[in-house]
């Protein structure tokens, strides 16, 4: 993975401060998970499955859902035991919890969506090693009560899944000219006609279907987010400039002036 | 003519030469201008110091400015006349800024001062001749204006293998050296031999480009006539073969190591103009007051070379060469490759001005807009220093100073070959110049911030030491006063006798043993103190000399010494405390002495406080006036405070008045000190009050500014305040007077 959780969080000290507050604001948690601290776009966590399985919407949605469930489950569990785990064995314990949830999900998918399970292959068990999950467990759930932790897990999972699906849709559209093909693999027979052939006679753009295309797609998504953030920042800066600077924060180096 | 091997250097370009235009006409001699402007900084190094005052009459060739330090030069009057001004005038500098100049109004008589040639220079010591050259204000006339005496002295560092005379003149358009060689061939050869006599090089070589056939022929003729050993080497025409380092490589095959001078590898390089100036200085005794300059460019109808007096404004020369004002688009001092543009033609000719290029639009068109660097590598092929210009551009653009330095930015000679060939019209040289100055600024800033840091830390260390000392003193004093209290009860009259001998006698009788220990301790303390002082002195010295390793060691010593001292002092205090009753005489002695010191201190403080109070009152007054003008609403409060201040001032006055006349000089010092301490505290209080008032007035002003509509209601109050202010003022005046009195009496 490209960035470890620690540095990702440290990049913005405000975030850690907010994360560490036991009574985090729910609105903040939602905003953090979906946008500001999005695990896929900002923290660049879980890149490996993200780049590997987002060739179609259904793959992305499948993995996204699995990750979401594991994330919520592990966050709740970790939050519940947070006061009873010694610091030294913290991480192994968290990994055990995550592994258990992942195994559950794997078995469930094997049972109900066997084909999708086969398509996703190794990437379902690999959810255990998804830094996003361990990161949230360590950075948030181990310091917050159950309810905020569950919300945080859900929102982070949702943010992750949203990017996965967006990337999947992008790659499916450009790579194969369709959208929502094979949705029945995940959603059952009802979804069999969901496949929308956007372009007829479309030549498969292999480059986009292959993992290198995912890099470019993700790069574009990150660029888009940065662009929006930049605009917002400029707006805030303009607002602040209008308000004028606040009082001086200067201290006297050389004692008091009488 | 001996044939010699000519080496080559990397890169180089072949721009259009454009040399023939200015060689059509013979050497011109322009008339005297209305005024001559002589910048004090015509050379590298410190500016000269003017020797004349406004209104002085000077003769032609008389010194008007002297050198200022080692790397500087003299300046002489180019003609006889009157000094009309010493002021800032625009000078020939790429920035277009002004600098200090001596302005000389010629009287037209051209009366020479007494000339002092050195006819017997061959018998004289080299240093004497060199100092004569320095007195004549000779500087390198090739471009940089390096004082010649410094260069010649530098050449003695190492035995010289080559003495090279630079006659290459590789820049397009410029023909001043060419003309000089043609006109003054004999003088040049004699000048070279003069310099050779001074430096004693193994080999003397004139390097000249093959595009000056007439000059080469003239030189050859003269050299054979003189039967000279000077070698004439003709190098192929290529820009920048006239660069010092490039010419050295062309003639010797050697490279001047980066960051060093040619003298470091036993080579000396002089321009032809400098040699001729040296000849004139020694043979004729003429100082450097004129030079040959090329006037060229398509905006001139009569391009030519002129022998021109230093200080002549460029405008005067342009008029002489028949300038077409409308054609003039760019005015350049120097050549098109390394010269710089002028904002105005009012700037004067200086010792290094070899060419004035008045170009029209067609000749030197405006540069095309900069395009992206495509890393085509043409600049690299052209760079005479074998640099990677495109890489340097990249680092310059992104301000990566360290990387630029690593890529040898400082070996760039700014010859402009890279910019010349750049297909994207990137002003590479400007990027490099900017980056070089950024690096220099950063270095200076680093030195400055290091210094600031050292001084800040030294100050902190000193303050800590002072605080520790004070604390120790305070402890000692506390104990002393405690013992004094005890002692005064027992022996009241003892306080009157301040003579030490008596005290010591009683002291020694009372407790000889203890006294010994305290004495010892005292001696220790004294030694410790002197040691500390010494160390501190050393520390300051070290800081001044910037010896980093010493500083830290010394600081350690100082702090150790301070600690030891504090320990000693506390020990001493303990010792004193342990025997307060047994040695009554010792303590009063101390107490009196100590009381004296604070008394003096307090008095001083009081004086200072009084001064401050005075100033503060002035400030209040000012502020009040302002408030009044602005019709401030809060004058009430100020008035109240002024009243308070007045009261305090009254008290202060009383306190100051009463004790001062009644204080006998020595015996009642403790009382005086007490009174003065009181006074000091009073003044302090008052000062605080005044400060408060000041702050309130400030606030008031602000509020008034925001809400002027309440102003009318308080106008009366303000009047009253004004009256009271006047009263306060007078009170303060008396207060200050009394303080003065007390100072005098005490």
């Amino acid at each position: 993975m490209s960035t470890s959780e620690e540095t990702a969080v440290n990049l913005d000290t405000d975030d850690t401060a907010q994360d560490n507050q036991p009574s985090a604001n729910y609105a903040d948690i939602i905003y953090n998970g979906i946008w500001k601290n999005n695990p896929a776009l900002v923290q660049l966590l879980g890149l490996c499955p993200m780049l590997a399985v987002t060739s179609t919407v259904v793959n992305a949605l499948g993995l996204g859902l699995a990750t979401l469930v594991v994330l919520v489950g592990s966050n709740i569990a970790v939050s519940l035991i947070r006061n009873y785990v010694a610091d030294a064995v913290r991480l192994p314990a968290f990994v055990m919890i995550i592994a258990s949830f992942t195994t559950c999900i794997e078995l469930i998918m094997q049972a109900y969506t066997y084909e999708l399970y086969q398509i996703l292959g190794i990437f379902i068990p690999l959810i255990v090693t998804n830094c996003a999950i361990l990161g949230r467990a360590d950075a948030f759930a181990s310091r917050n009560p159950v309810l905020p932790s569950a919300l945080d897990g859900f929102m982070m999972g949702l943010g992750f899944m949203a990017i996965l699906v967006a990337l999947g849709a992008m790659r499916e559209l450009i790579g194969q000219g369709t959208l929502f093909s094979d949705m029945q693999l995940l959603l059952g027979e009802a979804a069999i006609h969901w496949k929308w052939v956007v372009f007829d006679d479309y030549p498969n753009v292999l480059f986009v279907v292959l993992p290198p295309g995912a890099f470019i797609g993700l790069g574009l998504l990150i660029a888009g987010k940065n662009f929006l953030d930049e605009r917002e920042k400029q707006r805030i800066a303009a607002q602040k400039a209008k308000d004028g600077p606040s009082n001086s924060k200067r201290v006297r180096v050389t004692g008091q002036v009488s | 003519m001996q044939t010699a091997q000519v080496f080559s250097f990397h890169g180089g370009i072949h721009p259009e030469e454009n040399k023939t235009q200015s060689l059509q006409l013979p050497l011109g001699k322009p008339s005297l201008p209305k005024e001559l402007i002589l910048p004090l900084s015509q050379h590298i190094g410190q500016a000269s110091v003017p020797l004349v005052a406004i209104g002085d009459q000077v003769l032609k060739g008389a010194p008007i400015a002297a050198n200022n330090g080692l790397l500087s030069s003299h300046l002489h009057a180019p003609t006889s006349g009157t000094i009309t001004a010493i002021e800032s005038r625009p000078i020939a500098h790429p920035s277009g800024l002004s600098d200090l100049c001596i302005v000389l109004q010629p009287d037209g008589k051209e009366t020479w001062t007494e000339l002092k040639p050195l006819p017997n220079w061959q018998q004289l010591d080299a240093t004497e001749v060199i100092s004569h050259l320095a007195d004549m204000g000779i500087v390198g006339m090739g471009g940089a204006g390096f004082p010649t005496q410094v260069k010649l002295q530098g050449a003695h560092k190492k035995p010289l293998s080559h003495f090279i005379i630079n006659a290459a003149e590789c820049e397009p358009y410029i023909t001043s050296d060419d003309t000089l060689i043609r006109e003054k061939t004999r003088e040049l050869v004699l000048g070279i031999e003069l310099f050779q006599h001074l430096v004693q090089a193994e080999q003397v070589t004139i390097g000249i480009e093959d595009n000056k056939p007439t000059a080469i022929a003239a030189l050859n003729k003269t050299l054979t006539e003189c039967n000279s050993k000077i070698q004439l080497v003709v190098v192929p025409t290529k820009y920048p073969s006239g660069g010092e380092r490039q010419l050295i490589q062309l003639l010797t095959g050697q490279e001047v190591p980066s960051g060093q001078y040619p003298a470091d590898i036993g080579i000396l390089c002089q321009n032809v103009g400098t040699c001729v100036a040296g000849y004139e200085a020694v043979y004729l005794g003429k100082p450097l007051i004129s030079r040959i300059t090329t006037l060229t460019g398509k905006a001139l109808n009569a391009p030519q070379n002129v022998d021109v007096l230093l200080g002549t404004p460029v405008a005067h020369l342009l008029a002489y060469a028949d300038l077409q004002e409308k054609q003039l688009n760019r005015l350049i001092i120097g050549g098109p490759m390394m010269g710089y543009t002028l904002d105005s033609a009012a700037v004067p000719i200086v010792k290094t001005t070899n060419c004035i290029l008045a170009a029209n639009k067609k000749e030197l068109p405006a540069p095309a807009p900069e395009q992206a660097c495509i890393r085509c590598g043409m600049c690299e092929q052209a760079c005479p220093a074998s640099l990677l210009p495109q890489q340097l551009l990249w680092f310059s653009k992104s301000q990566e100073l360290e990387k630029a330095e690593h890529y040898n930015l400082f070996d760039c000679i700014e010859c402009g070959a890279c910019s010349y060939v750049c297909p994207s019209s990137i002003p590479l040289v400007q990027y490099y110049r900017h980056t070089k100055s950024s690096i220099r600024d950063a270095r200076e800033a680093a030195v400055k911030s290091d210094l600031a840091k050292q001084r800040f830390e030294a100050r902190k260390a000193r303050q800590d030491a002072e605080a520790a000392e004070k604390e120790a003193k305070r402890l000692a004093r506390q104990q002393a006063s405690a013992s004094k209290a005890v002692q005064t009860k027992k022996t009241a009259p003892a306080t009157k006798t301040t003579e030490k001998s008596a005290l010591n006698a009683s002291n020694s009788e009372a407790a000889p043993q203890i006294n010994d220990t305290t004495k010892k301790l005292k001696v220790d303390v004294a030694i410790g103190k002197s040691k500390l002082k010494k160390l501190q002195k050393q520390l300051v010295e070290a800081q001044e000399d910037e010896r980093l390793e010493d500083i830290s060691a010394l600081q350690l010593h100082v702090s150790e010494q301070e600690k030891a001292l504090v320990e000693l002092e506390t020990e001493l205090a303990k010792a004193v405390k342990a025997n307060p009753t047994k040695k009554p005489s010792d303590t009063p002695d101390n107490s009196v002495e100590k009381a004296k010191a604070p008394a003096n201190d307090a008095l001083k403080k009081a004086k200072i406080d009084a001064a401050i109070a005075k100033a503060a009152v002035k400030k209040v007054e000012k502020a009040l006036k302002k408030a009044e003008e602005l019709q401030a609403p809060e004058v009430d409060a100020i008035r109240q405070q002024l009243a308070d201040a007045k009261k305090r001032a009254d008290e202060l006055e009383k306190v100051l008045d009463n004790p001062s006349p009644s204080t006998p000089p020595t015996e009642q010092k403790p009382a005086v000190s007490a009174a003065q301490l009181d006074l000091a505290s009073q003044v302090k209080k008052e000062k605080i009050a005044v400060a408060l008032a000041k702050a309130k007035i400030n606030k008031l002003n602000k509020r008034l500014a925001s809400s002027p509509e309440d102003a009318e209601t308080v106008s009366k109050d303000i009047e009253a305040a004004q009256q009271q202010l006047v009263q306060a003022e007078s009170l303060l005046a008396t207060l200050i007077e009394s303080q003065h009195n007390s100072q005098e009496t005490s």
Binding site: P245 | S95, S396, Y431, H434, F456
Partner: protein
Amino acid sequence: MFTVLLAIGILVVLSLIFGGILGYAKVRFHVEGDPIVDQIDALLPQTQCGQCGHPGCRPYAEAISNGEAINHCPPGGQATIQALADLLDVEAIPLDGDHGTETAQRVAVIREDECIGCTKCIQACPVDAILGAAKQMHTVIADECTGCDLCVEPCPVDCIDMVDVGITAKNWSWDKPQGVAAQSLNIIATDRSTEVSQ
């Protein structure tokens, strides 16, 4: 059973070897002190002005190493922020206006005929750049002055001015050329004013 023991044995040996390597590395590459603070301190302008909210540059350097924002130093300005951002590998942010604005290099100058010799400025100067004695006129050693303006406020008679260090022919330098297309939108990184390195 033997294979199990063998596996365990191999793992134990491996762990010992790697542990040894790690232990050696810790001793061999041990770093003394906290050099990052020194590095940060070296980048700060050492004006000791306190505008950052800390008493001196070093305390601010320590605060930065503990996570304080890097944009609280007006004397250093954007250049210092950029240098700190490069050092700490974080994003360069604009100067925090709450701490003051970046000004040109200035020095304090005492109007000497108005000076009353109170020594207050001498006490206020963090770098001992003011000379003078009580009741004597004071003066600023321009070369030592950092332009922190701490001496201005204590002066009871307001006789200290902060004067911009002017540009003379000696310290003048060429501007940086505008480059390709001076006006453009900051869509990509290389469009920004401080171009990113390779």
